[in-house]
């Protein structure tokens, strides 16, 4: 099987190389009008088919690696280091992305998979897809070169194969690790597609904005995957690392957040290009930057240039990524300089107070956040170069610098949708901002009245600002929904909920976007709750108890157990609220036999108000009693609920609009021609302000 895998990878490289070369030659011939022995369209077709073939070859290689994991083939070095006989099946499958070589193979699999879909759906626009396919083939060649020569996943161990493997990193033996990395990679890799389309459109001087329509769904789906990947990672960190938090500003976390921020900026500013033919240069560079940040993030974290808790991913392949990054940047810059006259704006901003300006500021703030994170991630290297010593840039730096930027972004989330395209009049601003402004003020006053003291510390101050702004944004979003629903309801006679549903279906993108904004507010509220975390640590004997917040925690017993994969120590804790027992928690400490590494299994009782997060910290060697650490984390569930709302909003925005024309026809057939004006009015109400 290892031979089959290696051969598949070599075949995939050959096919991708052919797609790149033949596709490049065909497109050159088409552009210049020259003709070789084979007609350019036929040559391009062979390139497309070779691209499809490359996916099948990489899929075979991935299958071979998973097969090796399931059959305990420890002659394969990668399997030896990332699996063992006692490892449960799901984690054997997850071994595919648990190490350097496997995760690169997953990257190549997803990349060729995206390429497969793109090449199969080539009839959307044959020429543009041919360009995008050729560019994707170039990226494929890079990853397949890595897999064939720098980080081969099918390398064999020297001598006789050991009878058992070293096992999977215990931190990765958690259900979310089966889904978090693929999600994150789907996001990272997915940005290759809009990048390829943008570069292709620029190369061929694609007329109009159709390429944006083609790539819009790609970008949104990719963004959704990246969002899910980031938050699944945060949830994994919260559930497994056992330090009570979910985001540590580790370089690997930062690497995933940077392309997410530029991707978010792109999703917003691209609307200006669609609606007003503006910001074409900006959009092209946003998507170029997003793709390059994906590569840079991988470079930073895998090269060992910056230290990270994700040490399993470090190796010497950084130079390959640096080289690739330089090539990508050069190609983008060269193409841009050659074709920049094609990107002239059709309109200019007419007012500082307009929807366009709010998008511009939103982009600016997102990019500032991205730069801050990049700067903080790279500063230890810069400091070492300038001062001769490496400093740490950790959570206190990012919290202090990035949080105000985040709150400014939350503020823009609220005001952007309230501004009209082109120019908003003072009267309309005053009218639209009264309610959200009042909501902000009232929330702030009420929170201070119930005991929030923003002058006590910085965290409380930021929390108060986040809660107040959140209330303002929710009011702004709600008033947008209600206003539209009111118009629909007036003309159709439907109740407010039915009208709202119809309104949303008329413009899924706009109202899906509002739902996403609502989800973002909920996430911010959850994050703001972090300012009021409490913790308590205690050595506990049977029957002993302590109180934290509204909960009383009583130790019922503590014991040990073992199975083939690990030995475990755990405590049974009864949790009371008042006199009522609400749950029993069993925090664990595991010691994995193969890898000889410990792992924490957190026990968590989650409610809307707070999480009771319990860690078995270990046993006191002197007394033999377990040390229990408990965190009371307010509003933590809101973060995960907010993410679900974001996912729902994005899926809604991806859904096609209910055809206004169909609706008009239906109404016309019922009401007759006399109501035509009303139908137009309703249709406009659903569309206006998009």
């Amino acid at each position: 099987m290892p031979e089959f895998g290696s051969f598949s990878l070599l075949l995939a490289l050959a096919l991708s190389g052919y797609t790149l070369l033949a596709g490049g030659v065909a497109l050159r011939q088409l552009a210049t009008g020259t003709r070789g022995r084979i007609a350019p369209d036929r040559l391009a077709e062979t390139a497309r088919r070779a691209g499809i073939g490359s996916f099948i070859a990489v899929a075979c290689a991935a299958f071979a690696l998973v097969y090796a994991a399931f059959t305990n083939d420890f002659s394969v070095s990668y399997i030896l280091h990332h699996s063992n006989r006692a490892l449960p099946g799901a984690y054997k499958f997850a071994a595919l992305w648990s190490g350097q070589e496997g995760s690169l193979l997953l990257w190549a699999l997803l990349l060729t998979g995206y390429g497969f879909v793109l090449r199969v759906r080539h009839k959307v626009d044959v020429t543009l897809t041919a360009y995008a396919s050729t560019i994707l083939a170039g990226i494929q060649v890079f990853f397949l070169l890595l897999l064939n020569f720098a980080a081969p996943p099918f390398a064999l161990v020297e001598g006789a194969a050991p009878s058992d493997g070293f096992g999977l990193n215990p931190l990765l033996q958690y259900p979310e690790m089966v889904i978090h990395p693929p999600m994150l990679y789907l996001g990272y890799v997915g940005f290759s597609v809009p990048f390829a389309f943008a570069l292709g459109a620029l190369m061929m001087r694609y007329p109009g904005e159709k390429w944006i329509h083609i790539t819009r769904r790609w970008t949104m789906v990719t963004w959704l995957f990246l969002t899910c990947g980031i938050f699944l990672g945060a949830h994994w960190a919260y559930s497994v690392l056992g330090w009570g938090g979910y985001w540590g500003w580790d370089p690997v976390e930062n690497a995933s957040l940077m392309p997410w921020l530029t991707g978010t900026a792109f999703l917003h500013s691209v609307m200006m290009q669609e609606k007003r033919g503006m910001m074409k240069n900006w959009n092209v560079w946003l998507i170029f930057s997003t793709f390059m940040l994906c590569i840079l993030g991988t470079d930073l974290t895998r090269s060992g240039l910056v230290s990270s808790v994700h040490a399993f991913a470090q190796s010497s392949i950084g130079n390959w990524f640096t080289g690739f990054l330089v090539i990508v940047l050069s190609v983008c810059l060269f193409t841009f300089l050659l074709q920049r006259d094609h990107l002239k704006s059709e309109h200019k901003l007419e007012s500082l107070v307009s929807r366009e300006s709010s998008f511009l500021f939103n982009n600016l703030v997102l990019l500032a956040a991205c730069f801050t994170i990049l700067w903080g991630t790279l500063f230890p290297i810069i400091s070492e170069y300038v001062q001769g010593n490496r400093v740490t840039v950790g959570a206190p730096f990012f919290n202090r610098v990035a949080l105000p930027i985040g709150l400014f972004l939350l503020f823009l989330t609220g005001i952007g949708p309230l501004l009209a395209w082109r120019s908003a009049s003072f009267k309309s601003i005053r009218k639209n901002f009264v309610l959200p402004g009042a909501a902000i003020l009232v929330t702030a006053i009420v929170l201070m009245a119930v005991g929030l003291r923003p002058w006590n510390d910085q965290a409380t101050f930021y929390s108060l600002v986040a809660f107040s702004l959140g209330a303002g944004v929710i009011t702004a979003i709600s008033s947008e929904f209600l206003r539209g629903a009111h118009v629909i309801g007036k003309h159709t006679g439907k109740n407010i909920f039915a009208s709202m549903l119809q309104l949303m279906r008329r413009n899924t993108r706009r109202y899906g976007g509002y739902i996403v904004h609502f989800g973002v507010v909920v996430i911010f509220i959850g994050i703001a709750g972090g300012a009021f975390n409490q913790s308590h640590e205690q050595e506990m004997n049977n029957g002993q108890s302590f109180t934290i917040g509204p909960y009383k925690v009583v130790c019922r017993s503590f014991t040990e157990d073992s199975n083939l994969n690990y030995d475990t120590e755990f405590a049974l804790l009864d949790v009371y609220r008042g006199d009522k027992k609400v749950t029993q928690l069993a925090p664990e400490k595991r010691f994995y036999t193969s890898s000889q590494q410990p792992s924490t299994m957190v026990a968590n009782h989650s409610t809307l108000a707070w999480d009771l997060y319990v860690i078995y910290a270990g046993k006191n060697p002197q007394t033999g009693l377990p040390i229990i650490k408990v965190f009371l984390n307010p509003l933590m569930a809101w973060i995960w609920i907010g993410v679900i709302v974001v996912v729902i909003g994005t899926l809604f925005a991806l859904a096609p609009n209910l055809s206004a024309a169909l609706a008009s026809n239906r109404v016309r057939s019922v009401a007759g021609p006399a109501r035509l004006d009303d139908q137009r009015e309703v249709a406009i109400a659903g569309r206006s302000g998009d």
Partner: protein
Amino acid sequence: MISRRKLIRVSQMGLVCLVVAVAMGATDSSARFDKDSHQMMCPCSCNQLLGECNHVGCQYSDKMRSELAASIARGDTDDAIFHQFQDEYGPIVLASPMFTRFNHVAWIVPPVLLLLGIGSTLLIVRKWKLRTVPMPAEPATPGFSAVRDRIRRETQI
């Protein structure tokens, strides 16, 4: 001459500022321990803040936390504590760069760039706005203005 009313107003404001300043500075030792332990890293390569390192048998965190508690009990200032830890464990022990020489750059660059960006954007928009040619009036469509006005009226809250 300052009127009596103004003098009282100024005194009131001064009193409020004093109370706020005292309230901001007033922290007990456990709150200070919590704050300072979240400004330092555990050097055991776990990449966690000192206050959050949860490794059983960690060779550093327990010892460092004891040292920190002792320093706070002695009445050392935060600066003195951070310098002491930096001397003992190296500059990587601080979770964020101190405000010294080149480290200032770390703190200054992001907000300065954001402000520059906002300023440039304002300038660009102003420049574009000045250059914008007024749009010719839209050709009159029978009934359209009336429909538009009605929509505006009805969508007002």
